[in-house]
Structures are given as C-alpha cells and as structure tokens.
Symmetry: C2
Subunit: 331 residues, 2 copies
C-alpha cells in the first residue's frame, strides 16, 4: 500500500487538521467529535444544511461547506458512517433558528445514524428534515444499501439546496427543492482500478488488468457487470444511456452534465468522457446548458469516472448559478 499517510488510524484526523489550517477563511474544523462548520458558525435566520458520510470521497462533503452550500459536514472514518454523536453537534452548530436540513446519501449506516441524530436534535427543539439522495441507477440494492445508492448527484442537491437556503427559503421549501433535485438527477460510474482503504491495507476488490467494472459504487461495491477494457466512447455510452433512459430525457430537455473523477483519473480523461457524453445527449435532442467536470465525489485513489445528468428548469438553473464560496466549488 503506497500512500502519503502516517498511520491508517490517524488519516482522517490529520486530513481535517490540514484542511482546517489551509482554509481557515472558509471553514472551522471541530474535533472529538469530528465535524466541519463554516468559519463563523451558523447564520442566524437561515435554514442550516448538514451533510456527511464516510471519509475517502473528498472533497465531498467538507469541501462543500461555505457560503451558498453546506453549513456543516460530518466525516466518518474512511468508508464508514459517522456516529450520531458526531452528527448531533453538527446539527446544533448549523442551526440558525430556522431549522436544519440533512442531506444523506442512501447507505444503510448513514441513514440510520443521521436519523438517530435527527431525533436527538428534535428532542432538543431543533426542527430537522432529511432528504436521502439515491441517484445511482446502476443497481437497485447494493452491498451497503437498500434501494439505490446516493453518489455524485449529491453535489447537485447540496449546491442547489444551499442556494435556496441562502436566499432565505424556509425549511419546507429548502427540503422540497433538495428533493426535486434528487428526483431529477441520475448517475452511473465505472472503475478501471480498485482503491485501498488505509486500515485494510489491500485493494477493496480485485479487478483484473484487462477488465473494468460498469456501475461501480463509490466504495467499490459491485456494479452491473465486468467487461473487457473498452474505448472511452464505448464506456461513456454504457454510462449515459441508462442515466438518460432512467431520467426519461426527451427532446428539448435542458440538463447539467457532470463528469466526476473517482480520484485517480487525470482530468484530461474526464474531458474525453465529457465530450462523448455531451454528444450522446445532443443526439437525443437534449441541450447541455451547465457543466461540471472534475474530482468531486471520489473513492480514494480509484481510477474511473461517473456521469451524472440533472434535468434543469429555470429555478434550478438560477440556484445552480447562485454564488458559492466553498473550498471545492467557488463562483
């Protein structure tokens, strides 16, 4: 296992320490328990947004804490859910008196632990709603999931719900727009290589030198099938077609096309995928009006990519375009 780490047990804490020191203008890192808030803390009179999940997917979620997006993020151990004891103080720190929305990727542990924390917060008088993201069309149930997995589309939910909260929407409205984004975004990924969880010390799964896995999960969970290595155009079509079909994209639809790197793939390859994905959508008469290309929801050093498509309307476009000032997304 070749990694720039000291001790597998200290990776998350040391990452957070570096992250907090590098970006003290944007975030504040809290430890024992670990969570990240905006520098300056909760914004009074604004709905708070909290997300989180296992570490190893950086910049998700801590990289999306900041003006226009999340108020707090809760990183668990690598590929492991944060505990309710971590989530609760993050909810409290994000509460500006207008309630808190939890954005939770659909994994059994995350859903359970955020739910427990929500109940604890509710008992303390914080109004809490939860939206569970499940944008991955690859499989119906998965290794750690009942129902579809939440993957890269979560970034779209966090960005757009964050903008709605920032403009002053109330909790029900912010939850509704978050749900609407989730209902209109679909994703599917491919792995060229496995990744190695530090405390495991060996690759999460075996992938032969001449095979790739279509529909991979962000923890290396099995996807739809393994196939021999194919061209980028062929692979892209295997990702875009199920996404577009599941979303029921039709002539005239406007979309955000998001090509996400899994961590170990050069950005040049992501643009090769983007190019083909865009052409495939255009062949369906779909107009790509917004784009995002880069490493946003990763699986440690895994080589691979995912394609997400979000169907846009005027309001979602306006909220996507609204200013955002986080460490990973800024405009």
């Amino acid at each position: 296992m070749k990694k720039l780490i000291n001790d597998p047990r200290s990776v998350v804490a040391e990452t957070l320490e570096g992250f907090g020191a590098a970006h003290a203008d944007v975030v504040e890192v809290h430890s024992e328990p670990d969570f990240v808030t905006r520098a300056g803390g909760a914004v009074q009179g604004k709905v708070g947004l909290v997300s989180g999940g296992g570490s190893g997917h950086e910049p998700l979620h801590a990289g999306f804490v900041g003006v226009g997006m999340l108020d707090a993020a809760v990183p668990g151990p690598v590929f492991t859910s944060p505990t309710p004891d971590q989530v609760l103080p993050a909810i409290q720190a994000a509460d500006g008196g207008k309630g808190v929305l939890l954005i939770v990727k659909n994994y059994t542990g995350d859903v359970l632990n955020f739910e427990t924390a929500a109940e604890l917060a509710d008992a303390e008088g914080v109004d809490v709603r939860t939206v569970v993201t499940n944008d991955d069309v690859a499989v119906q149930d998965s290794l750690y999931t009942a129902g579809r997995r939440g993957v890269a589309g979560t970034v779209c939910v966090e960005k757009i719900a964050g903008a709605a909260a920032e403009r002053g929407d109330d909790l029900d409205s912010v939850a509704a727009v978050a749900q609407r984004v989730n209902d209109n975004v679909r994703s599917m990924g491919v792995a060229l290589t496995a990744c190695t969880v530090p405390h495991a010390g060996k690759p999460s799964f075996d992938l032969p030198e001449d095979e790739i896995e279509i529909g991979i999960g962000i923890h290396g969970e099995p996807g739809r099938r393994r196939i021999p290595l194919a061209s980028a155009d062929e692979i892209t079509e295997m990702l875009v077609t199920p996404v577009a079909d599941d979303l029921g994209l039709a002539q005239g639809d406007r979309v955000l096309l998001f090509v996400n790197g899994m961590g170990g793939t050069p950005s040049s390859e992501l643009y090769v995928v983007y190019r083909r994905a865009r052409a495939l959508l255009e062949e369906r008469g779909v107009e790509v009006t917004r784009s995002l290309v880069g490493n946003y929801v990763t699986s440690l050093e895994m080589q691979g990519a995912s394609v997400s498509v979000l169907r846009l309307d005027d309001e979602l476009t306006e909220l996507w375009d609204a200013p955002v000032h986080t460490t990973a997304l800024r405009w």
Copy 2:
C-alpha cells in the same frame, strides 16, 4: 494500460474538444494548430500572457486561461513541447497592443520553441518578453533540462503576473513581477508510482512496490534518490527542508504554501502533507499566510505530490488575492 481514452493519437484533441465544450463561457479552443484563448479573445490595451508546454499536466496550462491569469495556452502532445507554429498564433491571439509575456517552464524543447515563436512574432511587430520558470530544487540539470526544471511554482508566476497585467501594468513591469515570483518560489516533488504516456503504453519508469522517488520531475525524470516508502511526515520533511533552505527562509518571512497533487493522489493525502509542511515552516518562524492545495500541475495519473513555497511581500500577496476566473482557479 487502463485509461479512459479512445486512441492515444487523439487524446489531446479530444481533451481539448471536451474542455472547450464544457467551458465555452471562459475559454475558446482553436485547432490546427491547437491553442486555447480566453472566450472573446485578446483584451485591447492589456499585456497578453501566454504559456504552454507538453500536455499531461492538466489543468496546467489551459485551466489557467481566463480573466486575471493567462490570455492563451498552447498544449503540445503529451509530455512534448508545442511547436513554434502553434505558439505563434497563440501570441498573436493574446496581443492586445501592449505586448505579450511568455511564461515558459525550463525544458530545452519548450525554451527553444517558444524562443523561435517569439522571434517570429517580433518580426511581425509584437513586443514579446519571456520569463523562464525554474523552481524545482531537486536537481541542477535533468533529462530534458539544462539548469533547474520549471514545475508547480509556474502556477504562482502565472497567477501573479496575470493579476499585474489585469491591473494595467506595462510589459516590462509584468515581466519583472513574473521574474520576481520565479526568484522567490521553490518546489520539490515525490513520486509513489510512475505514470503511463498514452502513446508509449507502458509506465515511463519502473518504481518498485516498496520504493518512492524523492525529487521526481513532472515527466517522471529522475530525482535525487530512491528510498523505501516512508511516512508522510518523513517524506514531507524531505521536500520542505531543501525548498526552505534553498529559498533562505528566515524567521518572520511570510509565504504561500502550495501542496500540489501529481494526479493520482487523493486530496486527503495532500492535506496530510500540507499539515506537516506548514508545521515545519512554522518551526522555522515562517508564517504561512496563503495556501493552495490540489491537483494543479499533474503528471497524468502519477501518485505523488510536490511542495512549493513562495516568499510573499505585500504586493505579491495583493496580486495573489486579486480576482481570477479560470476553469481551474477561481476567486
């Protein structure tokens, strides 16, 4: 070779095609010959900035084209210098009547081809200056270089010179500030794994499973030495100490600390390195007042990182902080 590509011969063209389509609001991609300009072209009355070099280091340089930074970038084939025939039209496209500064990383082919293009542009009446970056302290001469190599510090040169041009400085002043940044920035990198150039189809060099290379070049050129895999803290010290010593950092100095990923390393590991690098600088009484952490000057999918330190003064800090709107750097 597992890559998301179609044909090794078309990687650069297809990357540019995707890049241009995804970011038409910021850049315009020109082909035959290949170069990238700001959307809207040259800014009249402003000094133009042009950089370039072999592809495979993305987002360098095309990702830094935009307001506040470069006017044009010229990508060669992977790890291969662009030709004078490519550089010349980029210079012409960047010329807003106040002359053009070329920022060239110190590699023999790049220096030669940009020089030839500069002479051709000069013959056509464009006032051209060149600043050659050579921030890598690892080795004195290298495989493709007489003198030190230009590596990640080039981003600092492009950002700060770009801000100087944007505020209206004349060509001599912009060239002088670019030179001043280069004189005050030093870098050194480490490779954990090799990378594979698409048209070569096999790793550029062999690095045993239990060894790393300290002082690696961004094309995989040999560094200072190979050592057994060590802890992130030990490796970071091997990078920071020569950088700080060479720069002659003293108590009270203020610096920008830039931890750059080589492409295949998760951002979590970059923050582990940042954390230790910052502590080492602080132990010397050096204050880290600005930070940059991420994949900015990569070597395809190489796993590894580099540490750059730029000594700041008030003017360099102000120019670093000035607004920038490119696809890879935006604030």
